[in-house]
């Protein structure tokens, strides 16, 4: 079986891709202008008419959409079709108090699931595989997206949803799952649980994992690959554009191919909105080129990353994005310094700790404080207070080198930090900035 789900488009020439994008953007802008009053107003305010968009290069002329727009337009303001043409909604967790509800026509579901199918095939999936999906099902896009993708590939799909690790392991062993789909923190947790039960990495039949929906590091990838005996592939997406599968990793593991025939990516300077050339780091902006029900144009993701068109050994020609280096939302400004949780995680893994931590930010006497609780591993225990204190000092030093500011490290017993089986709560910011 070929390594591609849709070989012709996944390996199309640059010219062919641009041709598709040119054709789709003209149609899409017309569709949005005619059907989405909210965006029509934005375009009118900016003095742009659909006729001004003649090719994909003209996309620069269009206004941006932000999360604030999605909130303002909630729930139907950005709908591009009649409700009777919609067959599904999905929604974000709304943990920041800004729930997003996205609508899908059957056409939108199909293209989303095809994107997920491309990701599964790129991870080695075929109709002979057993795909265990333990992303949450329901409003969260993770479960339904990979579930649909797995169906399109023709794999046997285990719709496990998240949680109930005992049952996950039982199905994994009894039904010999070969591909695991979940958040990277849950994959790490399953790895730990398997080891606790005395299973070795070679005892399972898994060959690959498709992990996304939260930030993870190269070090975390290595540790998951080792504990499960698999190759771990990254997948990227957001509810606003569809869900997982907007971009996915191939066997080269050097970035994620963006499905450019459906999603046009730009990198902008987050402060000025200026489009940056390939290779520069900035905020990722997506345009849905052919979604009908929720057709966002120039949606600012808040994810910071870099795009690259360097030739890929896998044969795919679609542009690659780096793993997001942080989210503007996740970014903490502590004593004037930008701090990303992923940096803290990298230090922990480099220093031989498990990536089980919690960041506490507060403000005392008008100064920001940064405290990090880190779980000790059983073999790190000492009977001497001075040993533990020295470990804390060493970790503080390594953190200071990486972050530019020194956090206070508190070593805590294993499993004392509450772990969710979905997205891990990594940061507690108690600052009240009046």
């Amino acid at each position: 079986m070929s390594n591609y789900f849709q070989e012709e488009i996944e390996t199309a020439s640059r010219e062919k891709i641009v041709e598709i994008q040119n054709e789709k953007i003209v149609k899409q802008v017309k569709h949005v202008y005619e059907n989405v009053a909210y965006y029509r107003n934005l375009m009118d305010k900016q003095g742009v008419k659909p006729e001004d968009i003649k090719s994909i290069d003209d996309i620069k002329k269009l206004p941006f959409l932000t999360k604030a727009d999605l909130r303002d337009a909630y729930p139907y303001g950005l709908l591009g079709t009649d409700l009777k043409d919609c067959v599904r909604i999905q929604s974000t967790s709304g943990t920041t108090g800004r729930r997003v509800v996205a609508f899908y026509t059957q056409h939108d579901i199909d293209l989303w699931e095809e994107c997920c199918a491309r990701a599964i095939v790129a991870a080695g999936g075929t109709n002979e595989d057993v795909v265990q999906v333990c992303y949450g099902y329901g409003l969260f896009t993770g479960g339904p997206g990979l579930n649909g993708g797995s169906h399109k590939v023709g794999s046997l799909t285990l719709p496990m949803s998240s949680g109930n690790t005992e049952r996950q392991i039982q199905f994994m062993m009894d039904l010999q799952s070969t591909i695991l789909c979940c958040t990277p923190s849950y994959a790490a947790f399953i790895g730990e649980s398997l080891a606790e039960k005395g299973y070795k990495p070679e005892d399972n039949k898994l060959k690959a994992g498709i992990f996304g929906a939260e930030p993870w590091t190269e070090e975390m990838r290595k540790s998951i690959e080792k504990s499960l005996g698999i190759k771990a592939y990254d997948i990227y997406g957001l509810t606003e554009t569809s869900g997982p599968g907007v971009a996915f990793e191939c066997e080269e593991q050097t970035g994620m191919h963006i499905n450019e025939d459906h999603f046009y990516a730009e990198i902008i300077n987050p402060d000025t909105g200026e489009v940056l050339p390939e290779g520069e780091k900035g905020e990722l902006v997506f345009t849905s080129l052919d979604k009908e029900a929720f057709p966002l144009l120039r949606y600012r993701t808040r994810d910071i990353c870099v795009l690259s068109r360097k030739k890929c050994s896998c044969g795919r020609t679609h542009v690659k994005m780096t793993k997001p280096m942080g989210r503007s939302d996740d970014m903490m400004i502590i004593r004037g310094v930008n701090v990303f949780p992923s940096q803290i995680e990298t230090v922990l893994l480099n220093e031989g700790y498990a990536p089980n931590y919690q960041i506490l930010v507060d403000r005392k006497n008008n100064t920001d404080t940064l405290d990090v609780n880190v779980e000790l591993l059983p073999e790190q225990m000492s009977d001497k207070v001075s040993d533990i204190e020295a470990m804390e000092k060493k970790l503080e030093g390594a953190m200071r080198t990486m972050l530019g500011i020194g956090p206070k490290i508190h070593l805590v017993p294993p499993k004392s930090i509450t772990r969710s089986e979905g997205k891990a709560v990594r940061v507690i910011d108690k600052r009240k900035l009046v």
Binding site: L376, P378, M381, D383, K384, I388, H410, V412, K415, S416
Partner: protein, 138 residues
């Protein structure tokens, strides 16, 4: 000869110490000696108990524990007894990492010493006529 000490990591939170001690009590394990090394936000509870392995088991997997050897010395009940023991360590340049004293009905007074090289510590003490407490005494 050396005796086993069980160290338990404690977060500096209410109920940590009582929680651990309760589990040990409920299992019918006797605490023969105890000390706590304290830092700003954690402490290390060090115990000499009647059954170290059982104590470790009842504390549970999620309790961070470590077992290691320490030297327990039987003290003569007179002035200068501790001084004599320490002078042996000094003479042999053996550093004491920490130490704690205890009394018991059966053994009288004894002092627990944590040194880097337990075997060497025991050897020099025995050579100098110091009485050690052994596992069976506990």
């Amino acid at each position: 000869m050396a005796i086993k000490q069980l160290s338990v990591f404690m977060e500096n939170k209410q109920g940590q110490l009582s929680g651990a001690v309760k589990k040990i009590a409920e299992a019918g394990i006797d605490i023969r000696a105890l000390s706590i090394g304290e830092a700003q936000d954690f402490g290390i509870l060090r115990l000499i108990v009647s059954d170290t392995n059982k104590a470790k088991a009842v504390l549970g997997e999620d309790t961070l524990c470590k077992t290691n050897d320490v030297i327990a010395v039987k003290m003569d009940d007179n002035a200068g007894a501790l001084c004599k023991v320490l002078s042996v360590f000094d003479a042999e340049q053996i550093d004491v990492e920490y130490s704690y004293a205890f009394t018991s009905r059966d053994l009288g007074a004894y002092v627990v010493f944590r040194v880097a090289d337990v075997a060497k510590g025991e050897k020099v003490l025995l050579e100098n006529g110091v009485t050690l407490v052994c596992k069976d005494d506990i």
